[in-house]
Protein backbone atom coordinates (compact mmCIF):
# COMPACT_ATOMS: atom_id res chain seq x y z
CA UNK A 1 0.00 0.00 0.00
CA UNK A 2 0.95 3.66 -0.20
CA UNK A 3 1.70 4.82 3.33
CA UNK A 4 1.68 8.25 4.88
CA UNK A 5 1.80 10.23 8.10
CA UNK A 6 -0.45 13.08 9.24
CA UNK A 7 0.93 16.55 8.91
CA UNK A 8 1.22 18.40 12.23
CA UNK A 9 -2.05 20.14 13.03
CA UNK A 10 -0.23 23.46 13.36
CA UNK A 11 0.92 23.15 9.74
CA UNK A 12 -2.59 22.30 8.55
CA UNK A 13 -4.08 25.22 10.50
CA UNK A 14 -1.60 27.54 8.79
CA UNK A 15 -2.58 26.13 5.38
CA UNK A 16 -6.31 26.60 5.95
CA UNK A 17 -5.92 29.99 7.65
CA UNK A 18 -7.06 32.00 4.58
CA UNK A 19 -10.25 29.96 4.21
CA UNK A 20 -13.51 29.72 6.16
CA UNK A 21 -15.36 27.21 3.97
CA UNK A 22 -13.52 24.04 2.91
CA UNK A 23 -13.89 20.38 2.04
CA UNK A 24 -11.89 17.78 3.96
CA UNK A 25 -11.58 14.85 1.57
CA UNK A 26 -10.49 11.36 2.54
CA UNK A 27 -9.88 8.25 0.46
CA UNK A 28 -11.05 4.68 1.13
CA UNK A 29 -7.88 3.20 -0.42
CA UNK A 30 -4.40 2.76 1.02
CA UNK A 31 -4.59 5.72 3.39
CA UNK A 32 -7.62 4.20 5.11
CA UNK A 33 -5.69 0.99 5.73
CA UNK A 34 -2.70 2.83 7.18
CA UNK A 35 -5.02 4.98 9.31
CA UNK A 36 -4.06 8.38 7.97
CA UNK A 37 -6.65 9.43 5.41
CA UNK A 38 -9.90 7.48 5.67
CA UNK A 39 -13.39 8.47 6.80
CA UNK A 40 -12.46 8.27 10.49
CA UNK A 41 -9.48 10.54 9.97
CA UNK A 42 -11.68 12.98 8.01
CA UNK A 43 -14.01 13.19 11.02
CA UNK A 44 -11.20 13.66 13.54
CA UNK A 45 -9.35 16.25 11.46
CA UNK A 46 -12.55 18.19 10.72
CA UNK A 47 -13.55 18.31 14.39
CA UNK A 48 -10.02 19.34 15.33
CA UNK A 49 -9.99 22.17 12.81
CA UNK A 50 -13.44 23.41 13.84
CA UNK A 51 -12.47 23.42 17.52
CA UNK A 52 -9.12 25.11 16.91
CA UNK A 53 -10.60 27.77 14.66
CA UNK A 54 -13.53 28.48 16.95
CA UNK A 55 -11.21 28.77 19.94
CA UNK A 56 -9.28 31.35 17.91
CA UNK A 57 -12.56 33.20 17.09
CA UNK A 58 -12.28 32.35 13.42
CA UNK A 59 -14.80 29.60 12.80
CA UNK A 60 -14.69 27.43 9.70
CA UNK A 61 -17.36 25.48 7.84
CA UNK A 62 -16.24 22.04 6.72
CA UNK A 63 -17.83 19.57 4.38
CA UNK A 64 -16.61 16.10 5.23
CA UNK A 65 -16.42 13.55 2.45
CA UNK A 66 -14.48 10.48 1.53
CA UNK A 67 -14.07 9.04 -1.95
CA UNK A 68 -13.71 5.39 -2.80
CA UNK A 69 -10.38 6.34 -4.40
CA UNK A 70 -8.99 9.80 -5.14
CA UNK A 71 -6.81 8.33 -7.90
CA UNK A 72 -9.65 7.18 -10.17
CA UNK A 73 -11.60 9.63 -12.34
CA UNK A 74 -15.04 8.12 -11.82
CA UNK A 75 -14.85 8.65 -8.05
CA UNK A 76 -13.25 12.09 -8.33
CA UNK A 77 -16.11 13.18 -10.59
CA UNK A 78 -18.55 12.50 -7.77
CA UNK A 79 -17.11 15.57 -6.00
CA UNK A 80 -17.71 17.90 -8.92
CA UNK A 81 -21.27 18.97 -7.99
CA UNK A 82 -20.08 20.38 -4.64
CA UNK A 83 -16.45 21.33 -5.06
CA UNK A 84 -16.99 24.81 -6.43
CA UNK A 85 -19.14 25.75 -3.43
CA UNK A 86 -16.01 25.65 -1.28
CA UNK A 87 -12.89 27.81 -1.19
CA UNK A 88 -10.39 24.96 -0.95
CA UNK A 89 -10.06 21.19 -0.57
CA UNK A 90 -7.89 19.73 2.18
CA UNK A 91 -7.13 16.21 0.98
CA UNK A 92 -5.77 13.49 3.23
CA UNK A 93 -5.19 11.05 0.38
CA UNK A 94 -1.72 10.25 -0.93
CA UNK A 95 0.14 12.70 -3.15
CA UNK A 96 -1.27 11.01 -6.24
CA UNK A 97 -4.85 11.55 -5.10
CA UNK A 98 -4.22 15.16 -4.10
CA UNK A 99 -2.65 15.96 -7.47
CA UNK A 100 -5.45 14.21 -9.33
CA UNK A 101 -8.02 16.40 -7.54
CA UNK A 102 -5.95 19.46 -8.39
CA UNK A 103 -5.96 18.48 -12.08
CA UNK A 104 -9.67 17.80 -12.15
CA UNK A 105 -10.65 20.96 -10.25
CA UNK A 106 -8.27 23.63 -11.57
CA UNK A 107 -10.12 26.55 -9.95
CA UNK A 108 -9.95 25.12 -6.44
CA UNK A 109 -6.81 25.27 -4.25
CA UNK A 110 -5.76 21.79 -3.05
CA UNK A 111 -4.06 21.45 0.33
CA UNK A 112 -2.19 18.31 1.50
CA UNK A 113 -3.19 17.08 4.95
CA UNK A 114 -0.69 14.23 5.06
CA UNK A 115 2.89 13.54 4.10
CA UNK A 116 2.93 10.63 1.68
CA UNK A 117 5.44 7.97 2.60
CA UNK A 118 6.33 4.87 0.58
CA UNK A 119 5.08 1.62 -0.96
CA UNK A 120 5.18 -0.67 2.01
CA UNK A 121 3.68 -3.31 4.24
CA UNK A 122 2.12 -3.43 7.69
CA UNK A 123 4.59 -4.93 10.17
CA UNK A 124 2.06 -4.64 13.02
CA UNK A 125 -0.63 -2.14 13.98
CA UNK A 126 0.99 1.27 13.78
CA UNK A 127 4.21 0.14 12.07
CA UNK A 128 4.85 0.06 8.33
CA UNK A 129 8.02 -0.51 6.35
CA UNK A 130 9.11 0.05 2.76
CA UNK A 131 9.28 -2.79 0.28
CA UNK A 132 9.14 -1.38 -3.26
CA UNK A 133 10.41 1.69 -5.07
CA UNK A 134 8.61 0.96 -8.32
CA UNK A 135 11.85 0.78 -10.32
CA UNK A 136 10.01 -0.73 -13.28
CA UNK A 137 12.39 -3.68 -13.78
CA UNK A 138 11.68 -6.29 -11.11
CA UNK A 139 14.37 -8.85 -10.20
CA UNK A 140 12.73 -10.42 -7.15
CA UNK A 141 12.83 -13.86 -8.81
CA UNK A 142 16.64 -13.72 -8.66
CA UNK A 143 16.98 -12.24 -5.19
CA UNK A 144 14.89 -14.55 -3.05
CA UNK A 145 11.93 -12.17 -3.08
CA UNK A 146 13.92 -9.39 -1.35
CA UNK A 147 14.40 -6.16 -3.29
CA UNK A 148 17.97 -4.81 -3.53
CA UNK A 149 16.69 -1.46 -4.81
CA UNK A 150 14.57 -0.90 -1.70
CA UNK A 151 16.29 -2.87 1.01
CA UNK A 152 19.87 -1.82 0.20
CA UNK A 153 20.47 1.81 1.18
CA UNK A 154 22.88 2.18 -1.76
CA UNK A 155 20.64 0.26 -4.18
CA UNK A 156 23.57 -2.04 -4.95
CA UNK A 157 23.02 -4.89 -7.35
CA UNK A 158 25.95 -7.20 -6.77
CA UNK A 159 26.21 -7.96 -3.09
CA UNK A 160 26.78 -6.11 0.17
CA UNK A 161 29.10 -3.14 0.53
CA UNK A 162 31.81 -2.77 3.17
CA UNK A 163 29.35 -1.09 5.50
CA UNK A 164 27.51 -4.32 6.22
CA UNK A 165 28.45 -5.71 9.64
CA UNK A 166 26.80 -8.70 11.26
CA UNK A 167 23.79 -8.32 8.98
CA UNK A 168 23.30 -4.65 9.90
CA UNK A 169 23.53 -1.73 7.47
CA UNK A 170 25.90 1.12 8.30
CA UNK A 171 23.04 3.60 7.78
CA UNK A 172 21.64 2.83 11.23
CA UNK A 173 21.60 -0.01 13.72
CA UNK A 174 17.91 -0.77 13.13
CA UNK A 175 18.34 -1.28 9.38
CA UNK A 176 19.10 -4.79 8.23
CA UNK A 177 21.56 -5.22 5.35
CA UNK A 178 19.37 -5.96 2.33
CA UNK A 179 22.09 -7.99 0.67
CA UNK A 180 22.70 -10.10 3.78
CA UNK A 181 18.96 -10.84 3.77
CA UNK A 182 19.09 -11.75 0.07
CA UNK A 183 22.06 -14.08 0.45
CA UNK A 184 20.63 -15.76 3.56
CA UNK A 185 17.37 -16.30 1.73
CA UNK A 186 19.02 -17.61 -1.45
CA UNK A 187 21.03 -20.07 0.65
CA UNK A 188 17.86 -21.22 2.44
CA UNK A 189 16.17 -21.72 -0.93
CA UNK A 190 19.26 -23.42 -2.37
CA UNK A 191 19.24 -20.79 -5.11
CA UNK A 192 22.68 -19.24 -4.70
CA UNK A 193 23.22 -19.79 -8.42
CA UNK A 194 20.76 -16.91 -8.93
CA UNK A 195 23.37 -14.60 -7.41
CA UNK A 196 25.43 -14.99 -10.58
CA UNK A 197 22.45 -14.43 -12.86
CA UNK A 198 21.89 -10.81 -11.87
CA UNK A 199 22.12 -8.49 -14.81
CA UNK A 200 25.49 -6.86 -15.56
CA UNK A 201 23.79 -3.53 -15.09
CA UNK A 202 20.46 -2.33 -13.79
CA UNK A 203 18.18 -0.79 -16.39
CA UNK A 204 17.24 2.42 -14.66
CA UNK A 205 15.46 3.82 -17.72
CA UNK A 206 12.24 2.26 -16.45
CA UNK A 207 12.69 4.03 -13.10
CA UNK A 208 12.39 7.71 -12.21
CA UNK A 209 15.42 8.78 -14.23
CA UNK A 210 13.26 9.51 -17.26
CA UNK A 211 10.92 11.82 -15.35
CA UNK A 212 7.28 11.05 -14.52
CA UNK A 213 6.30 7.67 -15.88
CA UNK A 214 3.25 6.52 -17.76
CA UNK A 215 1.87 3.04 -18.36
CA UNK A 216 -0.23 2.50 -21.45
CA UNK A 217 -1.73 -0.95 -21.80
CA UNK A 218 -2.70 -1.19 -25.46
CA UNK A 219 -4.84 -4.23 -24.67
CA UNK A 220 -6.95 -2.13 -22.32
CA UNK A 221 -7.19 1.37 -23.78
Amino acid sequence: MITGTPKPIEEILEMVEPYDNIIVAGCHGCVTVCRVGGQKEVEVLSSTLRLAREAADSSITIKELSLERQCDPEYVESMRPVVEDYQAVLSIACGAGIQFLAEKFPKTPLLPGINTGFLGVTERQGEWSERCQGCGDCVLHLTGGICPVTRCAKQLFHGPCGGSTGGICEVDKDTLCGWQLIIDRLKALDQMDNYGKLKPYKGWSASRDGGPRRIIREDMV
Binding site: S47, A52, E54
Partner: protein
Protein backbone atom coordinates in the same frame (compact mmCIF):
# COMPACT_ATOMS: atom_id res chain seq x y z
CA UNK B 1 -25.71 3.61 24.54
CA UNK B 2 -22.29 2.05 24.07
CA UNK B 3 -21.72 -1.55 25.13
CA UNK B 4 -17.97 -1.06 25.49
CA UNK B 5 -15.50 1.83 25.58
CA UNK B 6 -13.82 0.08 22.64
CA UNK B 7 -16.66 1.45 20.50
CA UNK B 8 -15.72 5.06 21.27
CA UNK B 9 -14.07 6.76 18.32
CA UNK B 10 -11.82 9.79 18.65
CA UNK B 11 -14.30 11.76 16.56
CA UNK B 12 -17.07 11.05 19.09
CA UNK B 13 -14.94 12.47 21.91
CA UNK B 14 -14.11 15.59 19.88
CA UNK B 15 -17.78 15.98 18.94
CA UNK B 16 -18.60 16.23 22.65
CA UNK B 17 -16.37 19.31 22.86
CA UNK B 18 -17.86 20.72 19.67
CA UNK B 19 -21.30 20.24 21.19
CA UNK B 20 -20.34 22.26 24.24
CA UNK B 21 -18.80 19.90 26.79
CA UNK B 22 -16.26 21.51 29.12
CA UNK B 23 -14.84 18.10 29.98
CA UNK B 24 -15.27 14.45 29.02
CA UNK B 25 -14.67 11.49 31.29
CA UNK B 26 -14.47 8.04 29.74
CA UNK B 27 -15.13 5.17 32.13
CA UNK B 28 -14.16 1.70 31.02
CA UNK B 29 -13.96 -1.66 32.70
CA UNK B 30 -10.83 -2.58 34.61
CA UNK B 31 -7.93 -3.40 32.33
CA UNK B 32 -7.75 -7.15 31.92
CA UNK B 33 -11.50 -7.51 32.53
CA UNK B 34 -12.84 -6.41 29.13
CA UNK B 35 -15.67 -8.64 27.94
CA UNK B 36 -14.44 -7.96 24.39
CA UNK B 37 -10.80 -8.67 25.37
CA UNK B 38 -9.19 -5.33 24.53
CA UNK B 39 -11.93 -2.69 24.16
CA UNK B 40 -10.76 -0.65 27.14
CA UNK B 41 -7.13 -0.83 25.97
CA UNK B 42 -8.18 0.55 22.58
CA UNK B 43 -10.20 3.24 24.35
CA UNK B 44 -7.16 4.23 26.41
CA UNK B 45 -5.13 4.75 23.23
CA UNK B 46 -7.92 6.79 21.63
CA UNK B 47 -8.37 8.96 24.70
CA UNK B 48 -4.62 9.57 24.67
CA UNK B 49 -4.77 10.69 21.04
CA UNK B 50 -7.62 13.10 21.81
CA UNK B 51 -5.70 14.28 24.88
CA UNK B 52 -2.80 15.18 22.57
CA UNK B 53 -5.10 16.93 20.08
CA UNK B 54 -6.76 19.03 22.81
CA UNK B 55 -3.34 20.04 24.09
CA UNK B 56 -2.16 21.00 20.59
CA UNK B 57 -5.18 23.20 19.82
CA UNK B 58 -5.17 24.90 23.23
CA UNK B 59 -8.48 23.50 24.43
CA UNK B 60 -6.62 21.82 27.30
CA UNK B 61 -5.61 18.17 27.63
CA UNK B 62 -6.83 18.05 31.23
CA UNK B 63 -10.40 18.32 29.97
CA UNK B 64 -10.46 14.63 29.04
CA UNK B 65 -9.64 11.69 31.26
CA UNK B 66 -10.19 7.96 31.30
CA UNK B 67 -11.03 5.98 34.41
CA UNK B 68 -11.28 2.22 34.85
CA UNK B 69 -13.86 0.75 37.18
CA UNK B 70 -15.79 -2.47 37.71
CA UNK B 71 -19.60 -2.41 37.65
CA UNK B 72 -19.58 -3.12 41.41
CA UNK B 73 -17.68 0.02 42.37
CA UNK B 74 -20.52 2.51 42.64
CA UNK B 75 -18.97 4.53 45.44
CA UNK B 76 -15.70 4.76 43.56
CA UNK B 77 -17.57 5.87 40.44
CA UNK B 78 -19.24 8.67 42.41
CA UNK B 79 -15.85 9.68 43.82
CA UNK B 80 -14.26 9.80 40.37
CA UNK B 81 -17.20 11.74 38.93
CA UNK B 82 -17.03 14.32 41.73
CA UNK B 83 -13.26 14.57 41.36
CA UNK B 84 -13.50 15.18 37.62
CA UNK B 85 -16.34 17.68 37.95
CA UNK B 86 -14.31 19.61 40.56
CA UNK B 87 -11.35 19.61 38.20
CA UNK B 88 -13.41 20.95 35.30
CA UNK B 89 -15.09 23.57 37.48
CA UNK B 90 -11.67 24.79 38.53
CA UNK B 91 -10.64 25.03 34.89
CA UNK B 92 -13.82 26.89 33.99
CA UNK B 93 -15.58 26.87 30.62
CA UNK B 94 -13.63 25.56 27.63
CA UNK B 95 -12.23 28.21 25.28
CA UNK B 96 -15.01 27.20 22.87
CA UNK B 97 -17.73 27.89 25.42
CA UNK B 98 -16.07 31.10 26.54
CA UNK B 99 -16.10 32.30 22.95
CA UNK B 100 -19.69 31.22 22.40
CA UNK B 101 -20.96 32.89 25.55
CA UNK B 102 -19.10 36.10 24.67
CA UNK B 103 -20.59 36.09 21.19
CA UNK B 104 -23.89 34.42 22.16
CA UNK B 105 -23.30 32.09 19.21
CA UNK B 106 -24.82 28.61 18.85
CA UNK B 107 -22.54 25.66 18.17
CA UNK B 108 -21.65 25.44 14.46
CA UNK B 109 -23.18 22.43 12.79
CA UNK B 110 -21.40 19.98 10.54
CA UNK B 111 -22.64 20.22 6.97
CA UNK B 112 -25.00 17.39 6.07
CA UNK B 113 -24.22 15.48 2.89
Amino acid sequence: MLPCTGRIEESLLLKAFENGADGVMVIGCLEGDCHYVSGNIRARARVKRVYDILETINIGAERIRMYNLSAGEGAKFAGYANEFVDQIEQLGPSPINERRSADSKPAPQEEKT
